[in-house]
């Protein structure tokens, strides 16, 4: 950490008056371009969505229509398909994030203990993260194929049942989860590994000298010290899982039926297939609201983590 040299100096400049003003304006000027981009192109569309959510907007019948008050909200709140899609999103997020965290942490420990070849292992682990879910996801359809797919071929070789991965109502969602786990477990593993390697050595040596059991060391030393990193990964993965769209779009298109239709996909279908922009915008507002509430609980601890670092730096 570099020392906080400029904090006292900037305070001295404040006392100096003239120079401080200029410092302040200079710093504000620097953020202006980025803030303009974010405010104009992120917040303006949001205001637009909010406006549409209070109107009648069936694009098959022309333009954005009249003000209808809270009617769209009533409709969406009583729409069973909406709640079904929300439930699919919850199921997907819980299972995928749980599997990724558990497997990722386990793999991190596995690699951490390895003596040779860590570099090679890490480079291979990175590969799925470089690929687009839309492209590799599409190719996974070929792997999942009941006729030509490699996965069922291998399952057949060892005498296991060969399920219809993407066509079966009961397992289609799990197939999407499996794909997500394939792509994102290395992410969790890499970051947990970085966290493990950054741990200080002394407390562990001391604990070992005291004869503490491995389990006890894990519970009282390793995990508490890893917690900030793991929490960060958990939040990042949860945000991404809730927004899942690409994998569903290329693997199942929400089917069979609607068993893999996540909230984002249902929103997309309502807005751009059925052209009910009003309902879709309302769902977008719900979605945003849920994210904001969640961010209150998830982002705060992260922010304190970040800002304590910023004030150190």
């Amino acid at each position: 950490m570099s020392q906080s040299l400029s904090v006292p100096t900037s305070r001295q400049r404040t006392a100096a008056g003239q120079a401080a003003m200029s410092d302040r304006w200079f710093s504000i000027l620097l953020v202006v371009p980025a803030m303009v981009v974010i405010l104009v192109f992120a917040l303006l569309p949001l205001a637009y969505a909010l406006d549409v959510s209070f109107r009648f907007a069936d694009l098959t019948r022309g333009r954005i229509g009249d003000f209808v008050g809270l009617d769209n909200y009533r409709t969406v709140l009583h729409d069973k398909a909406f709640w079904d899609s929300a439930w699919v999103t919850v199921k997907f997020t819980l299972s995928a994030v749980f599997l990724e965290m558990v497997l990722g942490i386990a793999i991190a420990f596995l690699i951490h203990g390895a003596t040779v070849g860590k570099g090679v292992i890490r480079s291979l682990m990175i590969l799925p993260l470089a690929t687009s879910a839309a492209v590799t996801g599409l190719f996974w359809r070929y792997l999942y194929d009941t006729q030509f797919g490699l996965i069922n071929y291998f399952l057949g070789l060892i005498g296991l049942p060969e399920p219809n991965w993407l066509g079966d109502y009961t397992i289609a969602l799990w197939s999407v989860i499996l794909f997500d786990v394939w792509q994102w477990t290395p992410f969790v593993a890499l970051i947990a590994l970085a966290g493990l390697q950054a741990l200080p050595k002394e407390p562990f040596e001391a604990a070992e000298l005291d004869g503490a059991s491995t389990f006890r060391i894990l519970r009282t030393l390793t995990f508490p010290m890893l917690k900030p990193v793991l929490f960060l990964v958990l939040v990042l993965r949860t945000i991404d899982s809730v927004r899942l769209y690409d994998a569903v779009a290329v693997l199942t298109r929400g089917g069979p039926g609607t068993v893999t239709e996540t909230m984002t996909f249902y929103l997309y279908r309502t807005g751009l297939k059925l052209f009910r922009m009003d309902y879709a915008s309302t769902m977008a507002i719900f979605f945003l609201y849920a994210m904001l509430v969640a961010s209150l609980f998830a982002l705060r601890p992260l922010l304190t983590q970040f800002s304590s670092r910023a004030s150190e730096g």
Binding site: S2, S6, T9, R24, S27, I28, L30, V31, P33, A34, V37, I38, F41, P45, L46, Y48, V52, I107, L110, I111, A114, I121, S123, I126, P128, L129, A130, T131, S132, A134, V135, T136, L138, F139, L143, F148, L150, Y153, L190, A194, G195, V229, L232, L236, I239, V242, R243, Y245, V250, T264, G271, S281, A284, I285, F287, M291, L299, L302, Q305, A310
Partner: protein, 286 residues
């Protein structure tokens, strides 16, 4: 003796498991690349064939019949333009956050929270706004509108800026302040300090951020899928165009997917050292 044996067994088990995990991770990508070299008659067979005479037929089909290089060209133009804008605006802002702490953390938090922002929530307004803007003269002139590169450049810039700013802040914080102070004492203006002292020092960090932004734009699907049809489609959408009435042509799909994934694989391998840092917005310095 006994202990040696058990530790050897443990190591063997460890590496066995690692190989298993790596196999699971690498295999889909490897199979994709292998499939791209298969002759058409060996692709759609059951059981899958492992031995075949490699051919470039799928690549020829993807590039000549499906004009896949067109998508590559589009993607390159869109993602590079957006990356340049992100890097310029992002570096300025990040420097200001790292050195002057503009907005006392509130602004930085706001920027992080836009990262939480579900893209799907703005995709409908984007669709409607770009549809209308595209019909006006200005929109046509600037290439902003549905199925125009400008629409995607804007979307990618907005959605990559928060990430870039966070990552860049962490890189700027690593630069010692003393150099800037002494440069200021030598009579350089703030802008000169930024251009002549800070930028060269931050160049590696800026490059890393740029590559990340490029990868994200290159791999983006949702905006590309909804805001483009034909003229401005990117690779992720281009691969989808191999769905035909006769079914999916898996050989050419594999070839196109390989072409579109390969550059990113190379980038990521070159950037390994910074992967963890980039993926956590600079929070974990791996």
């Amino acid at each position: 003796m006994l202990q040696r044996d058990s530790s050897f067994a443990r190591e063997a088990l460890r590496y066995g498991l690692i190989v298993l995990v790596l196999g699971f991770i690498v295999f889909p990508i490897a199979w994709m690349i292998i499939t791209s070299f298969k002759p058409p008659e060996d692709v759609m067979v059951s059981p899958p064939r492992f031995l075949f005479t490699p051919t470039l037929e799928n690549y020829v089909h993807a590039i000549y019949d499906k004009n896949f290089l067109f998508y590559i060209k589009n993607t390159l133009f869109i993602s590079v333009t957006s990356t340049v804008i992100v890097i310029i605006a992002g570096s300025l802002a990040a420097y200001s956050f790292a050195r002057y702490n503009v907005g006392d953390g509130h602004l930085l938090f706001f920027i992080l929270s836009t990262k939480m922002f579900p893209a799907i929530a703005v995709i409908l307004p984007y669709f409607l706004i770009f549809r209308d803007v595209g019909k006006t003269g200005v929109g046509r002139f600037l290439g902003i509108g549905l199925d125009q590169p400008g629409a995607l450049i804007i979307s990618y810039t907005v959605f990559n800026l928060p990430f870039a700013i966070w990552l860049l802040v962490s890189f700027f914080q690593d630069i010692p302040r003393e150099l800037e102070h002494s440069a200021r004492l030598d009579g350089l203006s703030r802008l000169q300090v930024l251009a002549k002292v800070v930028c060269p020092l931050a160049a590696p960090g800026i490059a890393v951020t740029g590559v990340f932004t490029l990868i994200f734009s290159w791999n983006e699907f949702l905006f590309a899928y909804i805001l483009t049809r034909k003229v401005a489609s990117t690779v992720t959408v281009g691969v989808e165009s191999f769905f035909t009435l006769q079914g999916i042509l898996w050989g050419p799909v594999a070839a196109a997917a390989t072409i579109s994934v390969l550059p990113m694989l190379v980038f990521v391998l070159a950037m390994q050292r910074y992967m963890v840092r980039g993926l956590t917005f600079g929070a974990v310095r791996g």
